[in-house]
Amino acid sequence: MGLDAVLAQLPNMGVALVGAICFAIVFRTPIRYLPHTVCVGFVSCLAPRYLPAAWHVGFSTFVAALITASLAHAFARFTSAPAQCFLIPGVIFLVPGTSIYRAFSAALQSQMEQAVILSLQAVSITCGISFGILLANWLVPSRKTL
Protein backbone atom coordinates (compact mmCIF):
# COMPACT_ATOMS: atom_id res chain seq x y z
CA MET A 1 0.00 0.00 0.00
CA GLY A 2 1.50 3.32 -1.08
CA LEU A 3 1.63 6.54 0.87
CA ASP A 4 -1.23 8.01 -1.16
CA ALA A 5 -3.46 5.07 -0.32
CA VAL A 6 -2.63 5.44 3.37
CA LEU A 7 -3.31 9.19 3.25
CA ALA A 8 -6.63 8.54 1.52
CA GLN A 9 -7.67 6.40 4.50
CA LEU A 10 -6.83 9.08 7.08
CA PRO A 11 -10.33 10.66 7.20
CA ASN A 12 -11.89 7.22 7.79
CA MET A 13 -9.37 6.49 10.52
CA GLY A 14 -9.96 9.89 12.12
CA VAL A 15 -13.73 9.33 12.11
CA ALA A 16 -13.27 5.82 13.54
CA LEU A 17 -11.07 7.20 16.32
CA VAL A 18 -13.45 10.02 17.26
CA GLY A 19 -16.43 7.66 17.05
CA ALA A 20 -14.72 5.12 19.30
CA ILE A 21 -13.96 7.82 21.90
CA CYS A 22 -17.54 9.17 21.76
CA PHE A 23 -19.16 5.75 22.28
CA ALA A 24 -16.70 4.86 25.06
CA ILE A 25 -17.74 8.03 26.92
CA VAL A 26 -21.45 7.51 26.25
CA PHE A 27 -21.29 4.01 27.79
CA ARG A 28 -19.27 5.34 30.77
CA THR A 29 -16.18 3.24 30.19
CA PRO A 30 -13.87 3.52 33.22
CA ILE A 31 -11.13 6.06 32.45
CA ARG A 32 -8.35 3.55 33.12
CA TYR A 33 -9.72 1.29 30.35
CA LEU A 34 -10.43 4.09 27.86
CA PRO A 35 -7.38 3.46 25.60
CA HIS A 36 -8.20 -0.24 25.29
CA THR A 37 -11.86 0.46 24.58
CA VAL A 38 -11.00 3.07 21.95
CA CYS A 39 -8.65 0.56 20.32
CA VAL A 40 -11.42 -2.08 20.14
CA GLY A 41 -13.91 0.49 18.78
CA PHE A 42 -11.39 1.71 16.20
CA VAL A 43 -10.80 -1.83 14.92
CA SER A 44 -14.53 -2.58 14.92
CA CYS A 45 -15.35 0.58 12.96
CA LEU A 46 -12.69 -0.03 10.31
CA ALA A 47 -12.86 -3.84 10.03
CA PRO A 48 -15.95 -4.02 7.77
CA ARG A 49 -14.38 -1.48 5.36
CA TYR A 50 -11.33 -3.66 4.74
CA LEU A 51 -13.13 -6.97 4.39
CA PRO A 52 -13.88 -8.07 0.79
CA ALA A 53 -16.90 -6.19 -0.56
CA ALA A 54 -18.09 -9.36 -2.34
CA TRP A 55 -18.80 -11.09 0.96
CA HIS A 56 -22.39 -11.27 2.19
CA VAL A 57 -23.10 -8.50 4.71
CA GLY A 58 -23.98 -11.06 7.40
CA PHE A 59 -20.71 -12.95 6.93
CA SER A 60 -18.52 -9.84 6.88
CA THR A 61 -20.28 -8.65 10.08
CA PHE A 62 -19.64 -12.08 11.61
CA VAL A 63 -15.90 -11.81 10.82
CA ALA A 64 -15.77 -8.20 12.09
CA ALA A 65 -17.58 -9.22 15.31
CA LEU A 66 -15.20 -12.17 15.74
CA ILE A 67 -12.16 -9.89 15.47
CA THR A 68 -13.72 -7.28 17.79
CA ALA A 69 -14.85 -9.76 20.44
CA SER A 70 -11.53 -11.65 20.38
CA LEU A 71 -9.67 -8.38 20.94
CA ALA A 72 -12.12 -7.41 23.72
CA HIS A 73 -11.62 -10.77 25.48
CA ALA A 74 -7.85 -10.49 25.12
CA PHE A 75 -7.94 -7.05 26.76
CA ALA A 76 -10.24 -8.39 29.48
CA ARG A 77 -7.73 -11.11 30.34
CA PHE A 78 -4.85 -8.65 30.21
CA THR A 79 -6.48 -5.98 32.42
CA SER A 80 -8.80 -8.11 34.67
CA ALA A 81 -11.73 -5.90 33.61
CA PRO A 82 -15.11 -7.29 32.49
CA ALA A 83 -15.09 -8.09 28.76
CA GLN A 84 -18.25 -5.98 28.32
CA CYS A 85 -16.18 -2.84 29.08
CA PHE A 86 -14.44 -3.33 25.74
CA LEU A 87 -17.04 -5.30 23.84
CA ILE A 88 -20.12 -3.08 24.11
CA PRO A 89 -18.56 0.20 22.87
CA GLY A 90 -16.78 -1.81 20.18
CA VAL A 91 -19.63 -3.85 18.83
CA ILE A 92 -21.95 -0.81 18.65
CA PHE A 93 -20.37 0.10 15.29
CA LEU A 94 -21.61 -3.16 13.81
CA VAL A 95 -25.21 -3.18 15.04
CA PRO A 96 -27.83 -2.78 12.30
CA GLY A 97 -29.53 0.37 13.61
CA THR A 98 -30.03 1.87 10.16
CA SER A 99 -31.37 -1.34 8.65
CA ILE A 100 -33.88 -1.78 11.48
CA TYR A 101 -35.08 1.79 11.19
CA ARG A 102 -35.28 1.77 7.36
CA ALA A 103 -37.13 -1.57 7.39
CA PHE A 104 -39.71 -0.27 9.82
CA SER A 105 -40.05 2.95 7.87
CA ALA A 106 -40.56 1.05 4.58
CA ALA A 107 -43.16 -1.21 6.20
CA LEU A 108 -45.16 1.76 7.44
CA GLN A 109 -45.06 3.27 3.94
CA SER A 110 -46.45 -0.03 2.55
CA GLN A 111 -43.20 -0.79 0.67
CA MET A 112 -43.35 -4.37 1.85
CA GLU A 113 -40.74 -5.81 -0.51
CA GLN A 114 -38.16 -3.25 0.58
CA ALA A 115 -39.17 -3.79 4.23
CA VAL A 116 -38.62 -7.55 3.98
CA ILE A 117 -35.21 -7.14 2.28
CA LEU A 118 -34.04 -4.67 4.94
CA SER A 119 -35.44 -6.79 7.78
CA LEU A 120 -33.60 -9.86 6.52
CA GLN A 121 -30.44 -7.80 6.23
CA ALA A 122 -30.89 -6.62 9.84
CA VAL A 123 -31.49 -10.20 11.00
CA SER A 124 -28.41 -11.52 9.18
CA ILE A 125 -26.24 -8.73 10.65
CA THR A 126 -27.63 -9.36 14.15
CA CYS A 127 -27.01 -13.10 13.88
CA GLY A 128 -23.54 -12.42 12.43
CA ILE A 129 -22.64 -10.30 15.46
CA SER A 130 -24.08 -12.76 17.93
CA PHE A 131 -22.34 -15.80 16.49
CA GLY A 132 -19.10 -13.84 16.06
CA ILE A 133 -19.19 -13.08 19.79
CA LEU A 134 -20.08 -16.68 20.67
CA LEU A 135 -17.17 -18.02 18.60
CA ALA A 136 -14.82 -15.47 20.16
CA ASN A 137 -15.98 -16.66 23.62
CA TRP A 138 -14.73 -20.09 22.63
CA LEU A 139 -11.53 -19.02 20.85
CA VAL A 140 -10.42 -16.51 23.51
CA PRO A 141 -12.34 -17.71 26.60
CA SER A 142 -13.84 -14.99 28.74
CA ARG A 143 -12.85 -14.50 32.34
CA LYS A 144 -14.59 -16.46 35.07
CA THR A 145 -16.38 -13.54 36.72
CA LEU A 146 -17.92 -10.83 34.53
Binding site: G19, I25, F27, I31, S80, I92, T126, S130, T145
Partner: protein, 249 residues
Protein backbone atom coordinates in the same frame (compact mmCIF):
# COMPACT_ATOMS: atom_id res chain seq x y z
CA UNK B 1 -27.63 -17.07 55.34
CA UNK B 2 -30.08 -14.15 55.22
CA UNK B 3 -27.23 -11.65 54.98
CA UNK B 4 -25.70 -13.65 52.13
CA UNK B 5 -29.02 -13.81 50.30
CA UNK B 6 -29.58 -10.07 50.75
CA UNK B 7 -26.13 -9.42 49.35
CA UNK B 8 -26.77 -11.65 46.33
CA UNK B 9 -30.12 -9.97 45.73
CA UNK B 10 -28.65 -6.47 45.76
CA UNK B 11 -25.65 -7.47 43.65
CA UNK B 12 -27.81 -9.13 41.00
CA UNK B 13 -30.12 -6.10 40.83
CA UNK B 14 -27.18 -3.73 40.35
CA UNK B 15 -25.68 -6.01 37.70
CA UNK B 16 -28.89 -6.14 35.65
CA UNK B 17 -29.37 -2.38 36.07
CA UNK B 18 -25.97 -1.59 34.58
CA UNK B 19 -26.33 -3.85 31.54
CA UNK B 20 -24.98 -7.26 32.54
CA UNK B 21 -26.62 -10.16 30.69
CA UNK B 22 -29.05 -12.43 32.55
CA UNK B 23 -26.93 -15.46 31.78
CA UNK B 24 -23.86 -13.92 33.43
CA UNK B 25 -25.83 -12.86 36.49
CA UNK B 26 -27.13 -16.41 37.01
CA UNK B 27 -23.64 -17.90 36.65
CA UNK B 28 -22.15 -15.38 39.06
CA UNK B 29 -24.74 -16.01 41.75
CA UNK B 30 -24.05 -19.76 41.61
CA UNK B 31 -20.28 -19.24 41.70
CA UNK B 32 -20.56 -16.98 44.74
CA UNK B 33 -22.76 -19.60 46.40
CA UNK B 34 -20.16 -22.33 45.73
CA UNK B 35 -17.41 -20.14 47.11
CA UNK B 36 -19.25 -19.46 50.39
CA UNK B 37 -20.63 -22.97 50.87
CA UNK B 38 -24.24 -22.36 49.82
CA UNK B 39 -26.28 -24.08 47.16
CA UNK B 40 -27.59 -21.23 45.02
CA UNK B 41 -30.04 -21.26 42.14
CA UNK B 42 -30.86 -18.06 40.24
CA UNK B 43 -33.28 -17.09 37.50
CA UNK B 44 -32.59 -13.68 35.99
CA UNK B 45 -34.74 -11.83 33.47
CA UNK B 46 -34.40 -8.17 32.44
CA UNK B 47 -37.10 -7.08 34.92
CA UNK B 48 -36.24 -9.18 37.96
CA UNK B 49 -34.13 -11.88 39.60
CA UNK B 50 -35.25 -14.86 41.71
CA UNK B 51 -32.61 -16.34 43.98
CA UNK B 52 -32.81 -19.42 46.15
CA UNK B 53 -30.13 -20.16 48.76
CA UNK B 54 -29.94 -23.55 50.45
CA UNK B 55 -27.79 -25.02 53.20
CA UNK B 56 -28.61 -28.15 55.17
CA UNK B 57 -32.38 -28.33 55.53
CA UNK B 58 -32.90 -24.58 55.28
CA UNK B 59 -33.99 -22.91 52.06
CA UNK B 60 -34.61 -19.21 51.43
CA UNK B 61 -36.03 -17.69 48.24
CA UNK B 62 -36.17 -14.01 47.38
CA UNK B 63 -37.16 -11.91 44.41
CA UNK B 64 -35.72 -8.56 43.42
CA UNK B 65 -37.48 -6.35 40.92
CA UNK B 66 -35.46 -4.39 38.36
CA UNK B 67 -37.25 -1.29 37.11
CA UNK B 68 -34.60 0.56 35.18
CA UNK B 69 -31.61 -0.55 33.15
CA UNK B 70 -28.95 1.05 30.98
CA UNK B 71 -25.36 0.40 29.99
CA UNK B 72 -23.04 1.76 32.71
CA UNK B 73 -19.63 0.18 32.27
CA UNK B 74 -17.99 2.09 35.11
CA UNK B 75 -20.44 0.63 37.62
CA UNK B 76 -20.04 -2.79 36.00
CA UNK B 77 -16.25 -2.62 36.44
CA UNK B 78 -16.65 -1.62 40.11
CA UNK B 79 -19.06 -4.51 40.69
CA UNK B 80 -16.66 -6.88 38.94
CA UNK B 81 -13.87 -5.87 41.31
CA UNK B 82 -16.16 -6.27 44.33
CA UNK B 83 -17.32 -9.72 43.19
CA UNK B 84 -13.75 -10.88 42.65
CA UNK B 85 -12.79 -9.79 46.16
CA UNK B 86 -15.88 -11.37 47.69
CA UNK B 87 -15.48 -14.58 45.72
CA UNK B 88 -11.88 -14.90 46.93
CA UNK B 89 -12.94 -14.26 50.59
CA UNK B 90 -10.75 -11.17 50.65
CA UNK B 91 -13.61 -9.14 52.12
CA UNK B 92 -16.37 -10.02 54.59
CA UNK B 93 -20.11 -9.95 53.82
CA UNK B 94 -20.53 -6.70 55.76
CA UNK B 95 -17.66 -5.08 53.90
CA UNK B 96 -19.06 -6.32 50.59
CA UNK B 97 -22.42 -4.75 51.49
CA UNK B 98 -20.76 -1.40 52.19
CA UNK B 99 -18.72 -1.52 48.99
CA UNK B 100 -21.81 -2.43 47.01
CA UNK B 101 -23.59 0.68 48.27
CA UNK B 102 -20.52 2.77 47.47
CA UNK B 103 -20.34 1.33 43.93
CA UNK B 104 -24.02 2.09 43.37
CA UNK B 105 -23.70 5.72 44.40
CA UNK B 106 -20.31 6.44 42.80
CA UNK B 107 -19.96 9.53 40.63
CA UNK B 108 -19.89 8.86 36.87
CA UNK B 109 -16.38 8.97 35.33
CA UNK B 110 -17.21 11.78 32.90
CA UNK B 111 -19.03 15.04 33.63
CA UNK B 112 -22.37 15.99 32.05
CA UNK B 113 -20.89 18.23 29.35
CA UNK B 114 -18.40 15.58 28.17
CA UNK B 115 -21.17 12.98 28.05
CA UNK B 116 -23.51 15.32 26.14
CA UNK B 117 -20.82 16.25 23.61
CA UNK B 118 -19.77 12.62 23.15
CA UNK B 119 -23.39 11.57 22.61
CA UNK B 120 -23.90 14.45 20.21
CA UNK B 121 -20.69 13.60 18.35
CA UNK B 122 -22.00 10.21 17.35
CA UNK B 123 -24.64 11.69 14.97
CA UNK B 124 -22.23 13.59 12.63
CA UNK B 125 -19.91 10.58 12.62
CA UNK B 126 -22.71 8.28 11.56
CA UNK B 127 -23.83 10.76 8.85
CA UNK B 128 -20.25 10.83 7.55
CA UNK B 129 -20.08 7.04 7.46
CA UNK B 130 -23.37 7.00 5.46
CA UNK B 131 -21.65 9.20 2.86
CA UNK B 132 -23.39 12.45 3.85
CA UNK B 133 -21.83 15.82 2.86
CA UNK B 134 -20.13 18.11 5.39
CA UNK B 135 -23.21 20.33 5.72
CA UNK B 136 -25.32 17.38 6.89
CA UNK B 137 -22.66 16.28 9.37
CA UNK B 138 -22.53 19.83 10.75
CA UNK B 139 -26.31 20.02 10.99
CA UNK B 140 -26.32 16.73 12.88
CA UNK B 141 -24.22 18.08 15.78
CA UNK B 142 -26.89 20.34 17.38
CA UNK B 143 -29.41 17.62 16.62
CA UNK B 144 -27.32 15.14 18.60
CA UNK B 145 -27.03 17.53 21.54
CA UNK B 146 -30.80 18.12 21.74
CA UNK B 147 -31.54 14.39 21.47
CA UNK B 148 -29.08 13.67 24.29
CA UNK B 149 -30.69 16.35 26.49
CA UNK B 150 -34.17 14.98 25.78
CA UNK B 151 -33.13 11.41 26.52
CA UNK B 152 -30.93 12.01 29.57
CA UNK B 153 -32.61 14.93 31.35
CA UNK B 154 -36.16 15.49 30.09
CA UNK B 155 -37.77 12.10 29.54
CA UNK B 156 -36.28 10.30 32.51
CA UNK B 157 -38.17 7.59 34.41
CA UNK B 158 -39.71 4.26 33.57
CA UNK B 159 -43.06 5.73 32.45
CA UNK B 160 -41.56 8.26 30.04
CA UNK B 161 -39.12 6.02 28.21
CA UNK B 162 -41.15 5.27 25.10
CA UNK B 163 -42.76 8.72 25.05
CA UNK B 164 -39.21 10.12 25.06
CA UNK B 165 -38.28 7.95 22.07
CA UNK B 166 -41.40 9.00 20.17
CA UNK B 167 -40.93 12.73 20.81
CA UNK B 168 -37.15 12.63 20.20
CA UNK B 169 -37.78 10.95 16.84
CA UNK B 170 -40.49 13.49 15.98
CA UNK B 171 -38.09 16.31 16.85
CA UNK B 172 -35.31 14.80 14.70
CA UNK B 173 -37.66 14.48 11.72
CA UNK B 174 -38.99 18.04 12.15
CA UNK B 175 -35.43 19.37 12.36
CA UNK B 176 -34.46 17.49 9.18
CA UNK B 177 -37.51 18.89 7.33
CA UNK B 178 -36.71 22.47 8.40
CA UNK B 179 -33.04 21.97 7.41
CA UNK B 180 -34.23 20.82 3.96
CA UNK B 181 -36.13 24.07 3.50
CA UNK B 182 -33.03 26.13 4.31
CA UNK B 183 -30.42 23.89 2.64
CA UNK B 184 -32.06 22.10 -0.33
CA UNK B 185 -29.09 19.72 -0.75
CA UNK B 186 -29.90 18.07 2.60
CA UNK B 187 -31.21 14.50 2.35
CA UNK B 188 -34.08 14.35 4.88
CA UNK B 189 -34.11 10.55 5.47
CA UNK B 190 -30.30 10.42 5.90
CA UNK B 191 -30.26 13.32 8.39
CA UNK B 192 -33.24 11.82 10.24
CA UNK B 193 -31.62 8.38 10.37
CA UNK B 194 -28.29 9.89 11.47
CA UNK B 195 -30.01 11.74 14.29
CA UNK B 196 -32.10 8.83 15.40
CA UNK B 197 -29.79 5.88 14.92
CA UNK B 198 -28.20 6.29 18.37
CA UNK B 199 -31.65 5.60 19.80
CA UNK B 200 -32.38 2.57 17.61
CA UNK B 201 -32.09 -0.52 19.82
CA UNK B 202 -29.50 -2.38 17.78
CA UNK B 203 -27.53 -3.33 20.87
CA UNK B 204 -30.69 -4.57 22.62
CA UNK B 205 -31.39 -6.71 19.55
CA UNK B 206 -27.88 -8.17 19.55
CA UNK B 207 -28.10 -8.90 23.30
CA UNK B 208 -31.49 -10.55 22.73
CA UNK B 209 -30.14 -12.88 20.06
CA UNK B 210 -27.11 -13.58 22.26
CA UNK B 211 -29.39 -14.55 25.17
CA UNK B 212 -31.50 -16.79 22.93
CA UNK B 213 -28.33 -18.42 21.57
CA UNK B 214 -27.38 -19.27 25.16
CA UNK B 215 -30.83 -20.80 25.73
CA UNK B 216 -32.02 -17.95 27.95
CA UNK B 217 -35.29 -17.87 26.08
CA UNK B 218 -37.31 -15.71 28.47
CA UNK B 219 -34.68 -12.98 28.68
CA UNK B 220 -34.07 -13.12 24.95
CA UNK B 221 -37.78 -12.84 24.14
CA UNK B 222 -38.23 -9.96 26.62
CA UNK B 223 -35.33 -8.05 25.08
CA UNK B 224 -36.60 -8.68 21.55
CA UNK B 225 -39.96 -7.27 22.57
CA UNK B 226 -38.29 -4.24 24.11
CA UNK B 227 -36.35 -3.67 20.87
CA UNK B 228 -39.56 -3.89 18.85
CA UNK B 229 -41.42 -1.40 21.07
CA UNK B 230 -38.54 1.11 20.93
CA UNK B 231 -38.29 0.76 17.14
CA UNK B 232 -42.04 1.28 16.81
CA UNK B 233 -41.91 4.41 19.04
CA UNK B 234 -39.09 5.88 16.95
CA UNK B 235 -40.65 4.95 13.62
CA UNK B 236 -44.04 6.41 14.56
CA UNK B 237 -42.39 9.66 15.73
CA UNK B 238 -40.54 10.15 12.44
CA UNK B 239 -43.38 9.08 10.20
CA UNK B 240 -45.87 11.31 12.01
CA UNK B 241 -43.74 14.37 11.13
CA UNK B 242 -42.71 13.20 7.65
CA UNK B 243 -46.34 12.51 6.78
CA UNK B 244 -47.26 16.11 7.57
CA UNK B 245 -44.14 17.46 5.78
CA UNK B 246 -44.64 15.54 2.53
CA UNK B 247 -48.33 16.50 2.47
CA UNK B 248 -47.38 20.18 2.61
CA UNK B 249 -44.29 19.99 0.37
Amino acid sequence: MRVFLALLRETSRHLIECGCSSNRVEQLMMRLGDSWGFEVEALAIPTGVWISVRRGGENLVELTRVRDWKVDLDRLARLNELIEHFHGHRISMEEAQQRLEAAASAEPPYDKIATLLAGAGTSPILIYTYGGPAIEAMLALPLGIVVQILQKYVFVGENRRYLGDFLSAAFVAAYACVAKQIFPEVDVPRLAVGGIVVLVPGLVMVNAVHEVAQKNLVSGAAKLLEAMVITASLGMGVLFVLGVFYKWA
